[in-house]
Subunit: 189 residues, 2 copies
Amino acid sequence: MKIYLAGPDVFLPDAIDIGRRKADICARHHLVGLYPMDNAIDVAAKEASLQIFRGNEAMMNEADAVIANLTPFRGPSADAGTVYELGYMAGRGKLCLGYSNDPSPYVDRVREFTKVTSDEGGLKDALGLTVEDFGLADNLMIIHALDLHGCALVMPRQRPVDTWRDLAAFEICVRLAAARLGVSQPASG
Amino acid sequence: MKIYLAGPDVFLPDAIDIGRRKADICARHHLVGLYPMDNAIDVAAKEASLQIFRGNEAMMNEADAVIANLTPFRGPSADAGTVYELGYMAGRGKLCLGYSNDPSPYVDRVREFTKVTSDEGGLKDALGLTVEDFGLADNLMIIHALDLHGCALVMPRQRPVDTWRDLAAFEICVRLAAARLGVSQPASG
């Protein structure tokens, strides 16, 4: 069974190494990890971004499940490309899993980003737009997509020292995926 | 034909009015706009967020197309919930359209959010993570999803005075959707 490895990991300076580590963890659980950087792209090509899109979409179509790294990225929410991919996989009826290495509630992260005030209509940001206040880790569409199309968001109790490289929460997702996909596991961990 | 009206418009203080205006524009083009706030939700309910998710997903399943408001929201990218919905609709094989009332390139918006430097590997943010530099308006997955599953992102030449309420770009999407869905239009605009 194949797992699409979505996440802003591809933007890390050691993106290829992280992809290898994730694929190794999948392999230990008898799963095949498909990592976007495995697509051969001619980055000098005029249409490089379109090539990347097509490569990622083909990988998603091939995969049985997605494990999305939903750690907040350049703002209070997860990376937009990763969220798009989670939606795409849910739309295709694939098994959806995700983790975030930042266990803080969405509202707390919005507070770091903009002034949040409260009135009878609830929490508002500096522009007067409502701040979702359901005690969830991110936008409700993301959180409940995982609840209803796979497994609940996996988060560590505390933010790990290296938010972008700690793979403990990722490995829990891999175990959950293997169990849900009915893949037999090694006798001992 | 039915259009799912995705966007952070639901967070505006006048969210219901914006939804009515959008639905009216759809009706003028012989289309039915489905707006998330049309779902009856008991907001006091313990599981309100789950109710909202289920209502939105049912609306998306019912719709033939999506028009997503991809105007940047609390960061350099579009609203996470909207992006999830765009992905879901693409995954379901529905026609995908979107607009943004901010015509600036993604890279310029990242610069407002974090220090961006350049090295031989391209642009990097303050954490050393790559900044996508394809001259696109947002993450390539969003932009090319529109190109390949519908129509190219619609943007005004200049940011309108009221970014959150100007519906000119939205109306262009409605016209495009009507044409692509083969809905006959009134003889005069």
